[in-house]
């Protein structure tokens, strides 16, 4: 065992080299780029500007707004699909094979490409010929221009995201629930715990792994998402649904301000890291207190 063995390194080398080239080097490179500027966007014209890009970013209202929208998106995604996924998984637990049928159906929207989902829902939301307003008006409610109304556009787009995400959450939580032994519930019942108490004192603590995973996954997904919003609204109307991903795309691919966009990328990476670590630490610390 103590003999140095070179073979494992050979097996993991391709993965490390590959990730190095396409993930780790780019992350560090984006950090480096954020301290430079370039009149042409070409690497040979770079000149050092220190933290100037960061100062500009902090004064860039559109960027701050987009970051704010990403945070709202995290909260909406936790409030809707994650909580819903948990509740549905609990409802499904204890029913035999039909459980899998339900879970499979709930998961189908997750297999729809975000681009497709955005296109279909743009039509569903269409104020004049879309099905949603027609349905609402049929039952006596008034429809709205969902994607053209600044005050609700972010929520309307999040509904599309939630539609494709809740089935994913159900699947994860359902698998987590399977690992909880039924005896624990029996014991809780004997101790006089009602359904709600069982949920909060047995289910939630024992689903800790699954909950951590889903929360971190949701945060990462919410901070980086792009496809859905790009196709559904492209950040409109009046930038009411713009997100960091769109700003990065816009500044780099449309304006050629690569260094400025790279600064945004770096901030995005840091925010994702900080939020994920915060969630993991929060839940792990609670674990230790028990």
């Amino acid at each position: 065992m103590t003999r140095f063995n070179v073979r494992p390194y050979i097996y993991i080398a391709p993965a490390l080299i590959y990730l190095g080239i396409w993930i780790f080097y780019p992350i560090l490179n984006a950090l480096v780029l954020s301290f430079f500027d370039s009149p042409t966007g070409r690497s040979r014209d770079y000149f050092w500007v220190g933290i100037e890009n960061y100062i500009k970013l902090l004064q860039d209202d559109l960027f701050l707004k987009s970051l704010y929208h990403n945070i709202i998106w995290v909260l909406l995604s936790i409030a809707l699909p994650v909580v819903l996924g948990l509740l549905l998984a609990v409802l499904l637990s204890g029913r035999g094979r039909t459980r899998l049928v339900y879970a499979s159906i709930f998961f189908i929207p997750h297999t729809v490409a975000a681009v497709c989902a955005a296109i279909v829902w743009r039509w569903i939301y269409d104020p004049s010929i879309g099905p949603l307003n027609w349905l609402l008006e049929t039952v006596g409610l008034t429809g709205r221009p969902w994607l053209a109304d600044e005050s609700i556009v972010l929520i309307a787009v999040n509904m599309i995201g939630s539609w494709s995400y809740y089935g994913f959450c159900v699947l994860i939580f359902m698998a987590g629930l399977q690992n909880i032994s039924p005896e624990l519930y029996d014991a809780a019942k004997i101790d006089g715990a009602g359904a709600l108490q069982q949920f909060f004192y047995v289910t939630i603590p024992l689903l800790r792994n699954a909950i951590t995973f889903v929360l971190v996954y949701t945060i990462i997904g919410s901070m980086k998402f792009f496809d859905l919003i790009f196709v559904a609204t492209n950040g409109g109307p009046n930038e009411a649904s713009t997100v960091v991903g769109l700003r990065i795309y816009w500044h780099s691919m449309r304006e050629g301000r690569f260094n400025y966009a790279a600064t945004m990328s770096t901030i995005l990476t840091v925010v994702i890291l900080v939020l994920s670590v915060a969630v993991i630490r929060q839940i792990v610390t609670e674990d230790e207190e028990d």
């Binding site: 690497s43 549905l88 039509w123 539609w163 698998a175 792994n209 792009f226 991903g245 990328s265």
Partner: protein
């Protein structure tokens, strides 16, 4: 159980149970409806003329317009885009799966210096997104002359799923009993023989899960192809659809037909291999 003449309190208990179960069923069915209704609308819209669609989107098409698909694939030239999607997804799936299997074998079977740190390093890749690495990746591809090539589209795409792949393969391989591997080694099996004859047969379902998920991700991917493949001949279906929307604004029948073309292969794949999909997605999440 609920036989006639059962005590009164038992009967009321049973009827409460029945109401409860009816409510649960209603809720579950509501979410089945929410999941499937937009998909029904999508398929339905794709098979109607825009006039019929305008009259009603709920009713089934009276005269299904199957030729919509032919029109898009052949006359509008989207057959090429479908082909590009297939090349992109298959190649990046193979690349990710092979590298992940090797790394998973290394991490799961061996003990070596720096293992924990290297594994942690790989895991941090999970937190990195396309948007975070866009600019350096774009410039790297530019320097290598790979913009607007298949290679340029495939290489970074494969990297996006690699962290997940290594993680999944490592957790799966760790579940294979040590004794089996040791026995094979004692029998004089080389590493590759152990991998091929002991690990692969046991891990085939896991590898299958990974391959399917990676295929779906690449097929549905949008951001990198949008930026890297700006020439129409190279665009995969997911990107070509956008340009279609510009040309056929408000022709929702046609737009729906393109989404059906993009979605159907994945839907069929998913329906056929559900268990594999589910296994891959839940396994990684729930191992400590």
């Amino acid at each position: 159980m609920a036989a006639n003449g059962s005590p009164r309190n038992k009967r009321s208990y049973n009827s409460r149970r029945m109401i409860q179960s009816a409510i649960i069923h209603a809720v579950l069915l509501l979410f089945v409806f929410i999941a499937l209704f937009p998909i029904y609308l999508m398929f339905n819209a794709a098979l109607k003329t825009s006039r019929e669609l305008f009259q009603s989107f709920l009713t089934l098409p009276t005269d299904p317009q199957w030729q919509n698909f032919g029109f898009i694939l052949n006359e509008q030239g989207y057959k090429g885009a479908l082909y590009n999607s297939l090349i992109l997804s298959t190649s990046s799936m193979i690349l990710t799966t092979v590298i992940s299997v090797l790394a998973g074998y290394g991490f799961a079977v061996y003990r070596f210096i720096g293992k924990q740190w290297l594994f942690l390093l790989v895991l941090t890749g999970l937190m990195v997104s396309e948007t975070s690495v866009l600019i350096p990746v774009y410039q790297l591809l530019q320097d290598l002359g790979l913009l607007n090539t298949y290679g340029g589209m495939i290489l970074p795409q494969a990297a996006l799923g690699l962290t997940f792949g290594v993680f999944l393969m490592t957790t799966f391989f760790k579940d294979i009993p040590r004794a089996l591997i040791d026995a094979a080694v004692v029998d004089g099996g080389s590493d590759l023989q152990v991998l091929r004859h002991v690990i692969m047969p046991l891990a085939r379902p896991a590898i299958m899960s990974l391959a399917l998920i990676e295929f779906m991700w690449a097929w549905n991917s949008f951001f990198f192809p949008l930026v890297i493949a700006t020439k129409q001949w190279l665009m995969p279906m997911s990107v070509r659809i956008i340009d279609f929307m510009g040309r056929f604004t408000f022709r929702y029948d046609m737009i729906a037909a393109t989404t059906v073309i993009l979605f159907t292969p994945i839907l069929i794949l998913y329906l056929v291999t559900q268990r594999s999909f589910h296994r891959g997605i839940t396994f990684g999440a729930l191992k400590d």
